[in-house]
């Protein structure tokens, strides 16, 4: 398991923004009023992470913005953050968007599975960075060690949830940046991002059940390893799932 000094680094207000920066942010989700998911209630089918009690901003025509106030991790690659600056764009014209992943602290959540069953035991897998959708962030006894000036407070065991990626302005990150990830751990972040965007979980049982009786209209081989081949199937109703075939 990674520990604090291996994972975090201090950042000064004047430091350039970087992949792995952690900041206190307002994250917006735009949605239809009453739409579920996404919502504030855990959805076992969609496995949509639900951030509780967002502030709501009504929009015309039955839309609304849900605002979550959270710490979040910058996942945009540092090269991308610096790209326009390196092309000599003036500061006022540098692309302002950064992609961030919300940070989920252990004290605020109770991990549950698809049947609302207790998944607290999953923290062990999260610590080992086994899930594709999370990056483990270890606890710290005293956050001021990495954020000079901030009160001497502990930082709880947590993870960045890649399922909740949103974009925010770079100015917002600069205003409330707490600390950053150490260079080696940014490598781990990039590995997780590559896994998250390229690897998809095998279909769950209920999806397989739903495909029974449907006509398969497309089959795309994804990857082969050893005696196993993964194939993405598309049914005539547009639904899809991934299966794994194993040679006998």
């Amino acid at each position: 398991m990674a520990v604090g000094p291996e994972v975090y680094r201090a950042v000064a207000e004047s430091d350039e923004l970087s992949s792995g920066d952690v900041a206190f942010l307002s994250l917006a989700r735009t949605r239809l009023v009453g739409e579920s998911p996404p919502g504030e209630t855990y959805d076992p089918q969609g496995r949509i992470p639900a951030y509780p009690t967002p502030a709501l901003l009504p929009l015309p025509h039955g839309r609304e913005v849900a605002l979550d106030t959270l710490f979040a991790l910058v996942v945009t690659h540092s090269c991308e953050i610096d790209r326009q600056k390196n092309l000599d764009a003036s500061a006022g014209h540098v692309d302002c968007r950064l992609t961030v992943a919300p940070i989920v602290p252990e004290p605020a959540v109770h991990l549950v599975g698809s049947n609302r069953d207790d998944h607290t035991v999953n923290w062990a897998a999260i610590e080992a960075n086994e899930p594709v959708a999370s990056l483990f962030l270890p606890p710290i006894d005293d956050v001021s060690e990495f954020a000079p000036g901030v009160d001497s407070l502990p930082w709880p065991r947590s993870f960045a949830d890649l399922r909740g990626l949103v974009t925010v302005s770079r100015g917002m990150v600069e205003a409330d940046r707490l600390f950053g990830l150490a260079p080696d751990y940014i490598g781990t972040l990039q590995r997780q991002l590559a896994r998250f965007f390229t690897w998809r979980d095998l279909a769950r049982h209920e999806l397989v059940e739903a495909l029974i009786g449907r006509r398969v209209v497309d089959a795309i081989p994804l990857n082969a390893r050893g005696d196993r081949l993964r194939v993405a199937l598309t049914a005539d109703d547009g639904s899809s799932l991934t299966i794994e075939l194993r040679a006998r």
Binding site: F24, A50, F71, V112, A128, V132, D151, F159
Partner: protein
């Protein structure tokens, strides 16, 4: 843990006992104490009745204001300190979808970062 839950805990009071004194449903008290219903979302009268039943001022059971990013009335350090207290340590625990999809990890999960990027062309700037 909410302030109301802390007070009930300290006084060893049940939801039902407080609800009876306040002439409310035990479920209402439970939802407020667990944070399932934010105390800001209920009628002032309900909060007043609970406070009265506990013989404490209303302010004692109101949750502190959650700090806001960019709040200019606080220094950056004070804002971040308040945010760590209120965002990382309070509230919940609310049910949250585990990121673990299946019991069996994919093949990539066991690779180290260096192994994972071993076949990448040099100069891809992965650690930039």
């Amino acid at each position: 843990m909410t302030r109301l839950a802390t007070i009930l805990d300290e006084r060893n009071l049940t939801y039902t006992a407080v609800a009876n004194r306040a002439h409310l449903q035990p479920r209402t008290v439970r939802q407020l104490a667990t944070g399932e219903t934010p105390i800001d979302n209920v009628a002032v009268g309900t909060v007043r009745r609970i406070a009265s039943a506990l013989s404490i001022p209303v302010a004692a059971i109101l949750e502190p204001d959650v700090p806001h990013p960019g709040d200019a009335t606080l220094s950056r350090a004070a804002r971040l300190s308040a945010a760590i207290r209120e965002v990382m340590w309070s509230g919940g625990p609310a049910a949250y979808a585990s990121p673990v999809e299946s019991a069996e990890a994919d093949d990539i999960a066991t690779l180290t970062t260096d192994e994972f990027f071993a076949d990448m062309p040099a100069g891809d700037g992965r650690r930039a």
